[in-house]
């Protein structure tokens, strides 16, 4: 199995870029992003890149702007009245604010919210929603896609005999996995997981984490989490966000070592404050 260690060691980088020339491309570029809700600024001009096919961890206490940041990427922030975004967000080099087909952008970005929202449809229709919205009609393809996504979300075995029952009837943890399946259903290039594991038991969480490690071959994953250890286990690089500012962004070796560049990072990661 390949280990994707990057950043410090020049040889490693070269080895990986030899294997796959796409690896070092920037999937998302964010420049001087500012976000204000009704005049109150919550993200204060942050800049960073997310590389293609990496798992990018974001940690930080509540109110630090993690969820808002994700919502800026797929422009769902626009639904919040009074939200004002400044700065530049590029996905594949394209400025998202200038994209004409915002629906295509949103299909490009899979989003899993912290509290599961099962749409009031059957389990099958929940997963088939996005492909259908994109115009997929072939029942055969849909069936295969639904099964694949539900398997990836570790839910297939539990719901295989009741795909027609309402998605909202599932337990909280199952609904959360349903939303993961749904986010995968439109085969996104970027998958944003916003504290996906708060409603899921540890065993299932581990199963999904394994899936994420597999998925990163196909897509870029942004993982917002309150579980510092989860970021440590999964991410290639982790960003520590605090009060709308980047405290530190480094590869995991540096972030979770005994001496990261910022003292605050060490204290947060080790539970000394926060």
């Amino acid at each position: 199995m390949l280990t994707f260690v990057r950043g410090k060691n020049g040889d490693d980088t070269e080895l990986i870029s030899n294997l796959d020339p796409m690896r070092e491309t920037k999937k998302i570029e964010i420049e001087n992003l500012r976000l204000a809700y009704g005049g109150k600024e919550v993200i204060h001009g942050i800049s960073f890149d997310v590389r293609a096919n990496e798992i990018f961890g974001i940690i930080g206490p509540a109110q630090s702007g993690k969820t808002s940041l994700l919502r800026c990427i797929n422009r769902t922030i626009e639904f919040t009245a009074g939200a004002k975004v400044q700065g530049m967000i590029k996905v594949d080099g394209q400025d998202v604010s200038r994209m004409k087909n915002v629906y295509e952008l949103r299909r490009q970005v899979g989003m899993v919210a912290p509290l599961p929202v099962g749409l009031p449809l059957s389990i099958y229709d929940n997963v088939a929603f996005a492909p259908r919205a994109a115009g997929m009609r072939n029942k055969h393809h849909l069936d295969a896609l639904v099964e694949k996504c539900l398997r990836q979300a570790a839910l297939w075995d539990e719901v295989t005999d009741r795909l027609d029952s309402l998605g909202t009837r599932l337990s909280g943890g199952q609904q959360q996995r349903l939303t993961i399946a749904r986010a995968l259903s439109h085969q996104p290039e970027i998958l944003c997981l916003d504290e996906f594991s708060i409603a899921i038991d540890p065993v299932t969480t581990m199963r999904i984490e394994d899936v994420l490690k597999e998925l990163r071959k196909e897509m870029t994953i942004i993982l917002v989490t309150n579980l510092v250890q989860q970021a440590r286990r999964l991410a290639d690089r982790t960003m520590f966000l605090w009060n709308g500012e980047i405290i530190e962004l480094d590869s995991n070796e540096v972030m979770f070592s005994d001496n990261p560049r910022n003292r605050k990072t060490y204290e947060y990661v080790n539970g000394i404050f926060g």
């Binding site: 949103r106 929202v117 009031p120 929603f129 996005a130 259908r132």
Partner: protein, 303 residues
């Protein structure tokens, strides 16, 4: 914080009694609805009951011969009246349901700010117009329009009445339907849009299924309004006893018959009693409509 030692507060006996009292009062409020419905049914039925023994049910329901004031051989067949009521109502709903639900979706989802507020006020204003005014509009405004547009001999007919009924039930459908759509959590909207759905896909794939019970209730209230409406249909449908062949034929409804004739009967006469039986029939029709809608909703829920 509870810095000082906390003393347990004792309930006074008066509070306990008043609690029970309020409970009983609320209970009465709840059951009063049932009591009212049953007593209305009872009193209406009591007025018409003596005639029941002499009534030929088949003839009453299906005969179209309605000659209640004949000296020699009065006939009490309400078939044409039932057909009149149902046909006007159905035609009105064919017009009103798409309009009403469409307007509800527009006001709730596609409209914002000042336009939304203005629309809501105007629509509620529409609901406040008295039915006799609608009837007047049907007689003086709609009738010539119908004659000139469709080149029919009579302007006051089923089509005219159905349009009025549609206009009267649309405001109810819009306000109830909009409430139903507003009750759908915003998280559904956001989840669907985040999946790349367009606004219209959001409406027909998520919002309509999620709000279907409320929307069905909105439609039913509209149907109830249309079946029960009296004044406007009395003035605008032509009030002629016959089975309509086209939508431009004049018809007579159950409600209009009661309103027009009850004042001219002597209390206790056959005619008087039959009119009350018509009331019972109306009551039954609305009951069946509501019950079947209830069953439909339950069927949807079970799925």
């Amino acid at each position: 914080m509870l810095a000082e030692p906390h003393r347990r507060v004792k309930r006074r006996p008066f509070e306990l009694v008043s609690e029970k009292l309020i409970e009983a009062l609320i209970c009465v409020c709840g059951f009063s609805a049932i009591i009212f419905v049953f007593s209305i049914f009872f009193f209406v039925l009591r007025e018409g009951a003596p005639f029941l023994s002499r009534l030929q049910m088949g003839e009453f329901l299906f005969s179209t011969e309605w000659f209640p004031t004949s000296q020699t051989q009065p006939k009490f067949g309400v078939g044409a009246l039932v057909v009149g009521t149902l046909s006007v109502t159905i035609l009105a709903m064919i017009i009103a349901v798409p309009f009403g639900l469409g307007a509800a979706v527009f006001v709730s989802e596609f409209c914002a700010g000042k336009a939304k507020e203005t629309l809501k006020v105007v629509i509620e204003l529409l609901a406040a117009i008295p039915s006799v005014v609608w009837g007047f509009i049907g007689l003086t405004v709609m009738s010539p329009i119908v004659i000139n547009t469709f080149h029919v001999p009579i302007g006051i007919n089923m089509f005219n009445g159905a349009i009025l009924l549609a206009l009267m039930s649309v405001p109810i459908m819009v306000s109830i339907g909009e409430d139903a759509l507003k009750a759908v959590p915003d998280s559904y909207r956001e989840a669907a849009l985040a999946l790349g759905a367009t606004k219209w896909q959001l409406v027909y794939r998520v919002l309509l299924p999620a709000a279907k019970n409320g929307l069905l209730a909105a439609v039913l209230l509209g149907v109830g309004r249309a079946i029960g409406e009296t004044m406007a249909v009395l003035m605008a449908t032509g009030h002629s006893v016959r089975i309509p062949k086209t939508i431009f034929d004049p018809v007579r409804t159950l409600t209009a018959t009661i309103a027009a004739e009850l004042g001219e009967t002597s209390k206790g006469s056959d005619h008087y009693q039959v009119l009350f039986l018509i009331g019972v029939l109306l009551f039954t029709i609305t009951f069946v409509v509501n019950l079947s809608a209830d069953l439909v909703i339950k069927g949807i829920r079970k799925k």
